[in-house]
Subunit: 89 residues, 2 copies
């Protein structure tokens, strides 16, 4: 099943890792606990809209960008896989 929180977590984590930052650093800057941020990144907890904004601020990314990446990821997952069978082979 495609879960919104998993995709939000993936996008937040990849953004943090790209910036070479630690969970501790981003959690402190977003004023959330390290455990909370870790659970959100792993898709184990739904981030409230307010804390999602804090995490985006801490990462210096816009919520719109995060959601755009999330929707792109979800659309790829929703697309049925096409298997091409090459009869000529």
């Amino acid at each position: 099943m495609i879960l919104l929180r998993s995709h939000i977590g993936l996008v937040l984590r990849s953004s943090r890792v790209e910036q070479g930052r630690t969970l501790r650093d981003v959690a402190k800057s977003a004023r959330v606990s390290l455990g909370y941020l870790s659970e959100v990144e792993r898709g184990q907890k739904e981030a409230s809209s307010e804390l999602l904004n804090s995490i985006c601020s801490a990462l210096d990314i816009s919520l719109g960008e995060v959601l755009q990446s999330v929707s792109a990821q979800i659309k790829v997952q929703e697309t049925p896989t096409l298997i091409v069978v090459d009869d000529a082979a």
Copy 2:
């Protein structure tokens, strides 16, 4: 403050209204309570990822489409308003 839950609610509500369906009908089909759906639509409650999927199913729309509309709405809200002053006037 831009809140994800408000934008998700707006997109779900406009989709339901476009289809000419009632809260009662969609809530029943999504197996959520009418009060819950109403609160989600008004941005007063964070929908869990699982129930968001149920609501999307009930509306026969994909989560990817919902998130695409949500990200577009949020990006518009994030864009600073440009006021053009026409000196020639």
